[in-house]
Symmetry: C2
Subunit: 256 residues, 2 copies
């Protein structure tokens, strides 16, 4: 089990898995902010923007452990080693992940490594991008009449060599489906959603850089999805009746 400190300053020798929220610096939690301000070492993913990293205190060493953007690739094992070495050197370590740290972020492997090494840790939840997207669009993600469920999935596998479908079997039609990292292959994705039984007029909205000044979105119905061109990453694709106002509204265009 993680520790449950109620103190707000980072404790030397501890690792904090912290959600950085969707991008805007003031959408961090107060707890996350206090830890960033007081920690010795920040290990962050690529998707965490500079404006958030700027909240770290002057004492903090800030290290990108992102695996993209042309930098020398760091392995998952390498991230584990940096966390554990930092804690064993009696530094307080913030492992900063965009959104919430437990959602689509390989946190399980990092937690297992910390447990294995007997390094005390704490998890600080965050605002996930889907909620920021709903807030930005002004649309509830659930609705008593048309969207009684939320389904978070990832399209990440769509770019791998042996791709698994995003969804196997029927997709509930009374749900808002939120696809993290949907990839660029909208034709394939549209086919999977149709194969899952979603009607061709199901509204879809791709939002890019939710909750940041660069935020933009495009929307269409499912039968047009293969022609949709989302904006640059990070992108979320929202699918379901709750997105109906995006089709009628000013966002009805196919390119970001």
């Amino acid at each position: 089990m993680p520790t449950h400190s109620t103190q707000t300053a980072a404790t030397p020798g501890n690792v904090y898995l912290v959600g950085a929220g969707p991008g805007a610096p003031d959408l961090l939690t107060v707890r996350a902010l206090r830890l960033l301000e007081s920690c010795d070492l920040v290990l962050h993913d690529d998707l965490v923007p500079d404006e958030v990293l700027a909240l770290a205190g002057p004492q903090a060493e800030i290290v990108s452990v992102g695996k993209r953007c042309g930098k020398p690739r760091i392995t998952q094992q390498g991230i584990h080693e940096l966390m554990i070495e930092g804690a064993r050197a009696n530094r307080s370590v913030v492992r900063l992940k965009s959104g919430d740290p437990l959602v689509f972020g390989r946190a399980g492997e990092e937690l297992a490594a910390l447990r294995e090494a007997s390094v005390p840790f704490e998890i600080v939840p965050g605002v996930t991008a889907a909620f920021a997207a709903g807030a930005a669009l002004g649309l509830p993600l659930t609705d008593r009449t048309s969207a009684s469920k939320l389904i978070f999935a990832t399209g990440h596998h769509a770019s791998s060599k042996d791709p698994a479908p995003v969804f196997e079997g029927a997709i509930p039609q009374d749900a808002t489906l939120i696809l993290y990292m949907p990839g660029r292959d909208m034709e394939r994705l549209a086919q999977e959603l149709r194969d899952g039984g979603l009607p061709p007029d199901t509204p879809c909205c791709a939002i890019s850089h939710a909750a940041t000044p660069e935020q933009n979105y495009v929307s269409c119905r499912l039968h047009e999805l293969e022609h949709l061109t989302p904006g640059t990453a990070p992108v979320l694709l929202l699918v379901g009746r709750a997105m109906e106002p995006m089709i009628a509204g000013p966002g009805n265009s196919l390119e970001a």
Copy 2:
């Protein structure tokens, strides 16, 4: 569309639909805290704890618009009127909902009323209870091998006179199912989950008051779920392979 202010103080005449997070005062976002500190009127649900309301500034009038706890019932329409009257009296209004304001909270009706009345509004996302529960348990809610999806649903209908099942059709087995307000009828719920095709040994964990000092949990396998007695509301039921460590661990008891 909502407004997108980047200022942190509440603007007179505006309504802010704000997520209060899962309960701990420092799990509010920084933006939510600034709005609470500066607003004139707070309209809050019952589930928002006193420790969070205590963050409001001394100028703020604080009004419970909860619909339970033996108080005279306020209608949904009554909540709309309080928001609109407050804004028209040039007060800044924070409509404070536990967790995220767009998830299972009838936000759609409140947003429609504000749009109808031409009252400017902004939505501030929050940390939902599910993420606080995962953080408290130290368990990732998704996992690359066993839990590629998250499904948020509500068991709220289970207590109504004409109850709809929580889930119709097959429940994906590679998902973590998170049930908000699961109710007390575990026998019925267990039957629905079995009818959805979940194996009898699927791990289940009911967590009560996640992310607060009163937090407690009980866990079991699906074939024992009818005997599970969750703690007091608010309760979340988490179901799926990602909860496996809760069965092996110290939380393996059937009563909170």
